[in-house]
Subunit: 478 residues, 2 copies
């Protein structure tokens, strides 16, 4: 092990070069600050290689086929199976074959210095990077260190699980072959998206869900409609069950998942999509008085509680485990670091330039299944729990002219949650084919806090699915 | 001819039972007013039988096939032609085979009395309906008459045109067979949509466009991208030319269109998509001091200038010739009639409940071609002409991750027009595959007058096409 003679000083040191770290660096650069970025794996992060990009590259053909099958004059042409090899090859292109040259060049292009290796805090504003060859670089941050290390999949500590070599989201998004049979443990977003992909590519999929239904963080009808479609597509969804043990037969044989109801399921692979943990366990947090392995609690500028120099943006702060929300936090973090470094006042009021207010009020998410499920803001249950006086307004998306034109036999549903005191929307959910891009209209309404009276003037173009907005308003007026 | 002994009195008489008239009646009913609705053709109007519904039923398979062809693993399945018979049969279903029983039942269900026949004003608040059998019904309106008669296609008075039996939008949306060769005169929305349909169904399409490009009311890149795709799909687009004469060979033979450049084009059918005229020529306008055949000028409550009882909503007032905008006006008209009848105060302030403000500021339109073209509010040219201090911000939609995932080889473009004085958006245009439902986010932003600083908090979900919003904001910030 060698040591650099002297620490190298930067204005900002960013640990983690996923989309979040990249955006912090970009905004710090915009504020005129020098920046070092530390990355132990691929620049571009989980999203680029084992999450958003590969999953959506895998899902898009599934959804496009489902849509095409529901269109007259075309449906006969698309009854056959997807060309799995073509879909997987396309996924490989979208992950740049798990090489990060392009993203490294981008980061280099914005003037950030890249340090490849494992970054650890060694004290306030001090970071040591251990390169793969054992070389150490000592960095100091004049103004701020930003932790953007993200999260990792959590696999439960079941008997036999290590020998069973289960899939996590990483293997599920990067697998090179279609397993004959796949068990998916978990009914959240990763679970339903990966069940959708591998089922469509030819695997016999069994989902094991501990709770009552899929997508438990969305309105109940989201999980119901997705479960109905997945079941029709051939998946076996079992709810109210938990895995108790996993056993892999010798020599790469099949895997058996034991269940708490006494049954068992045999498959070729098993995916655990059962949760995430912060990547903070080997980050030197103990050197600055924080708990290794914990989520980092931050204020709305993403400053870690109890510090005036340590920021945490993205999954690691546990506010919203979504790439786009992490990037949003990153922009605010970078701008806040810049403003503080320059001694400028911060605008940390609600919806201010330096407050990640949307994390509380307007987090959007699109689940790219068939049907798509998308939501922003609070569900009815969340709004009630938060003490708002609300009314949920529902509408059957199949009754919108644009939906029927989009797909024969359209099934879908929409809900808006109205704050009765302020007459603004707290949350909106759409479930149905072709609604992915429609979500942003809801995000505008919720984040823009557009009063219901003004929403009447936002006329949806006829005949689009967007006309559901008119129907929701008419239903609300009664 | 027989006369009813006494006029029948209603609170409101609506002339024209398209979507606009239906909505005026519905809102008048909600205000407790009795309503008569007069219709000389099919209840449901142009939109249901010869415009939105059939055109979109014809276009959706074309767009879905184009989308499917750009998806890996699926494209091989959809190289063949569309099943034209299936597409036309589907269109026939969507127009209820040009029967209006369903819509008549709806109108009856809301308590409106339906008078089938030609309605004419015979003086203030007086309407006479001449039924198909010659029977006359005299109606009086205690509070208001609403003219919702819409518009008709205008065919230019070229030599030979009557004998040539040209198509208008009605024949283009209701034709039972695919012509071998089709000439489309006009490059507006009807022209490009019908060229898209019939080209995809197998016709050899030639477009004759007087101006420099297609879709002249949108940002220039809209027409450019649509023209590029239509040309690639096999259409022949000729700009800067006008038809000077039309000649149909005897016995139902081919039609020849003579051009002002000395050339001529032969085809089996010719569609004139060259403009609209108000259906006010035989409406008795002269009995109330108005000019027959003129567009009816209205205020923001849709009250006709110089009257306190005559309203005009929809195409006929020439504010925005779009079904959804007419329905919007109809809701406001019906509510205004109701409020005035009840002696309640009206809210006619900008964006008030009784002011069709969106007609001036936020008219959305989606052109359902491949690529789709969608806009809301003012184009750059319109904003500049209106004297706003503006900046146009452009972004290449192909550079958005969600676009590439949506379609291989994605081509598209986005523009937002920012009012630099108020820091709100005056207009937004998207052109590209899959952007139809994205438009409503722009309509929310424009009609909601969401400040640019707040738009930063409306986070687009990753990786959707909606992320273009982030790119536009980043580009604006520079």
């Amino acid at each position: 092990m060698t040591h650099a003679a002297e620490p190298v000083a930067y204005d900002v040191v960013v640990i983690g070069a996923g989309p979040v770290g990249e955006n912090v660096a970009d905004r710090a650069r915009a504020a005129g600050l020098t920046t070092a970025v530390v990355e132990s794996e691929l620049i571009g992060g989980e999203c680029s290689y084992w999450a958003c990009m590969p999953s959506k590259a895998l899902l898009r053909p599934v959804v496009a086929r489902a849509d095409a099958r529901r269109v007259p004059g075309l449906s006969g042409a698309v009854q056959g199976p997807l060309d799995a090899a073509a879909v997987l090859a396309h996924r490989d292109e979208y992950t740049s074959h798990w090489k990060d040259d392009g993203q490294a060049a981008w980061l280099d292009g914005i003037g950030a210095d890249i340090f490849r290796g494992h970054g650890r805090l060694t004290g306030p504003k001090q970071v040591t990077v251990t390169a793969p060859d054992g070389t150490e670089h000592r960095l100091t941050a004049r103004h701020a260190v930003a932790v953007c290390t993200g999260s990792r999949a959590v696999v439960p500590g079941l008997p036999g699980i290590e020998d069973a070599r289960p899939w996590t989201s990483r293997e599920a998004t990067s697998a090179k072959e279609v397993p004959g049979r796949l068990v998916v443990v978990g009914g959240g977003v990763v679970g339903v998206e990966m069940a959708t992909v591998w089922n469509a590519l030819g695997a016999k999929v069994t989902m094991l869900v501990r709770g009552e239904g899929l997508l438990p963080r969305m309105e109940p009808f989201a999980g119901e409609l997705v479960a109905e479609a997945l079941t029709e597509a051939g998946a076996d969804i079992r709810t109210g069950v938990s895995a108790t043990a996993v056993r892999r037969a010798g020599g790469g044989g099949p895997v058996t998942v034991e269940l708490d109801n006494g049954e068992s399921v045999e498959a070729d692979e098993v995916l655990f999509a059962t949760g995430r943990a912060p990547r903070t366990d080997d980050l030197g947090l103990e050197t600055v008085g924080l708990e290794p392995g914990s989520w980092l609690t931050v204020d709305d500028t993403c400053l870690v509680e109890g510090t005036d120099w340590l920021y945490a943006a993205g999954d690691v702060n546990h506010r919203a485990l979504l790439t786009h929300q992490g990037k949003y936090q990153a922009r605010i973090t970078g701008d806040a670091i810049g403003a503080r470094a320059q001694g400028k006042p911060l605008d940390t009021a609600r919806w201010g330039a330096h407050a990640a207010t949307a994390d509380h009020a307007a987090v959007p998410q699109v689940v790219f299944t068939d049907p798509e499920a998308a939501s922003v803001g609070l569900s009815l249950a969340e709004a009630e729990q938060a003490g708002h006086r609300v009314r949920a307004v529902d509408y059957d998306l199949a009754s919108v002219a644009g939906s029927g034109l989009y797909a024969d036999g359209y099934k879908g549903r929409a809900r808006m949650v109205v704050d009765l005191d302020r007459e603004v929307l707290l949350g909106v959910t759409f479930v149905g084919p072709g609604i992915g891009e429609l979500l942003h209209s809801a995000t505008m309404a919720v984040a823009g806090e557009i009063p219901v009276a003004r929403l009447w003037h936002a006329v949806p173009s006829y005949p689009t699915i967007s006309e559901v907005w008119l129907r929701l308003l008419e239903t609300y007026r009664g």
